[in-house]
Symmetry: C2
Subunit: 363 residues, 2 copies
């Protein structure tokens, strides 16, 4: 496993930006950001955008002009495209996207669809981003279902995990496509050489699993272009037995949230030491830098968000509660996908599949 | 939520045994223990059995007499029933159970089926315990599928979680039955008053989930005898939003293993401090008692193992790598189930359902 340019180990937006600038000198990427999407929008979305905008990376902030203009304050490389409406996370996504053409996520998705921006970033409702992307950005030819792909905290390096919830019900062939897209992501965006793919199941043997997984195992194993390790179990996510883990969106979403919940509970319990004995308090104080490193390695915001793989343009869904740093990382992640060989690689591998069935949104 | 007799908070076999003795004074329970099952059998299985055997709790150790006799050394309340064969975890369970009538798990299961013991405990292959139980102990009338139910580490109290993997593919009605059995367990074995049931999904709304879960939600909500909270998410396991969480065996097994893997990775990383800076080393040393408490709360061996719910007699599947303490806890857990109202409650609630389809083993 080679981490060609160390991008996996880079942490701050500044480091990521420096890497991006060094690599893509001469190229210019334009990212459309749904400035109104997310719990902390628009203050944190704009702040995050300003932190990463530059000569090689310009941003189109989509949202209420009167709100955004004072925040942008004439900063360079940042443009505002007005959208007066906002879709909230309580709305039924597909209906809201169809019925609210002036919402920030719909306007941003249309900018990308029309070629006025190269990639889409939003911290808004995952369902709305998914619906707007499907309707306007559209799937790459041959992709049956897009998948939500995230760098999941793992040790020592994050793991590529998909689907995190775009598809609650899938067929075996969809899991094979997820394996193809995950491998393309790990190779083209992360620069890993011959990354390995694992299929999430309940035992290592090919016969272990539910009917979906047993049949998917057979399909993936038969695809010679996939570097298939075989089944992996839930405990293998954190010990990083493989580079990429494939699951249906229901199981994937549960696994990611169990990881987050467990990490939060344990770190919370350790933090509880500061209200405990004097001895434990002192111990916690001394261990603080060490604990902070662990906490940072587990912080989903480090990775900026999740990629919606299989679309005609890169789409990054940032965490709903992203602060400026998370938004900045999401924009950099989107920009990185634009300049990488991700989309051509997926298109080349799946373009011949040619299926074109309707997706089922889930999250 | 009431924890009537504090049993959930009891930790050591001795405390559990004291509670059991206090409660069930006068009653006498006989547990059949597969003495050859488990990675550390028979030394640790026998040691665990001897630690908990007593006036009110006798044990039938099933296995090779020549091996067991020196270990038992004439201890009181412990009997040996010979079985010369052992099923290993690499064998296909159903086939092995049918073909090896002299194996320790099969002989133990038959003792229970014949009424010569009240409950079955084994740390052997989960699949073999499941197969032997289905064949000999058999399901309670009306139970479509037995479910593996475990007390899962959570904070501040463990959570009742099922199915952990007896059924990789289920129908919505099976999930409703799991809810009924989990509620019976929490009420009758743990002594919780009106425990709440959550259905593991990928969103709180009844419309969130895969087709299986959406339909199961409808069935469980319509069952007035289930104290249904609604859907819970993966992150709610550790924060214990409900007393009982129901899932299909595939998702359940993934969730449990993700929890274990995440806990191990984080605690391992914290332990890594002892090889870090002097400051972190000192901090870790001072925090050691606090960390040990957290580690103990997360240790699955504290809970002795998993219950196979829905059988005619209590069956407890101990962890394969159980040491004496884990085996002792598993025996106490089985004894506790015998003297509780668990089986009559499940029978009363599901007896009228009357379905009798074949189960699908998974793990």
């Amino acid at each position: 496993m080679t981490d060609a340019d160390g991008s996996l180990l880079l942490r701050t937006p500044h480091e990521l930006l420096a890497a991006l600038r060094a690599q893509e000198a001469g190229s210019h990427v334009r990212v459309a950001l749904d400035a109104m999407g997310g719990d902390l929008a628009p203050v944190e979305t704009v702040k995050g955008a300003l932190a990463v905008a530059g000569e090689h990376l310009s941003l189109v902030l989509v949202g209420r002009r009167a709100v955004l203009e004072p925040l942008v304050a004439g900063a360079p490389h940042v443009e505002i495209v007005p959208a007066d409406d906002v879709i909230s996370s309580s709305e039924e996504p597909a209906k809201a996207v169809r019925g609210r053409p002036d919402s920030s996520i719909v306007v941003a998705a249309r900018l990308v669809a029309d070629g006025q921006a190269d990639a889409l970033v939003s911290a808004g409702s995952t369902g709305a981003v998914l619906a707007a992307s499907l309707l306007y950005v559209r799937r790459l030819k041959g992709v049956s279902r897009p998948a939500i792909c995230q760098l999941m905290p793992s040790m020592p390096l994050p793991i590529v995990f998909l689907d995190m919830g775009a598809n609650a019900d899938v067929r075996p062939e969809h899991l094979r496509q997820f394996a193809v897209m995950g491998q393309a992501f790990a190779t083209e965006v992360l620069g890993l050489e011959r990354p390995t793919v694992g299929l999430l199941s309940i035992g290592e043997e090919p016969t272990k699993g539910n009917q979906l997984v047993i049949e998917a195992h057979r399909l993936i194993a038969a695809d010679e272009q996939i570097n298939f390790y075989g089944n992996v179990e839930g405990r293998d996510l954190m010990n990083r037995k493989v580079d990429i883990v494939v699951a249906d969106g229901f199981t994937g979403n549960v696994a990611v949230k169990v990881t987050e919940g467990t990490a939060r509970a344990i770190l919370g319990a350790i933090k509880g030491a500061v209200t405990g004995s004097t001895r434990a308090k002192l111990g916690a104080a001394l261990m603080k830098p060490h604990l902070q490193r662990i906490r940072a390695a587990l912080d989903p915001e480090e990775y900026g968000g999740a990629y919606l793989l299989g679309m005609n343009r890169p789409v990054v869904i940032a965490h709903g509660n992203s602060r400026a740093r998370g938004i900045g990382n999401a924009v950099l992640a989107a920009a990185r996908a634009v300049t990488s060989g991700l989309l051509p690689t997926i298109a080349a591998r799946l373009g011949a599949d040619g299926s074109d069935e309707p997706p089922t949104g889930a999250v």
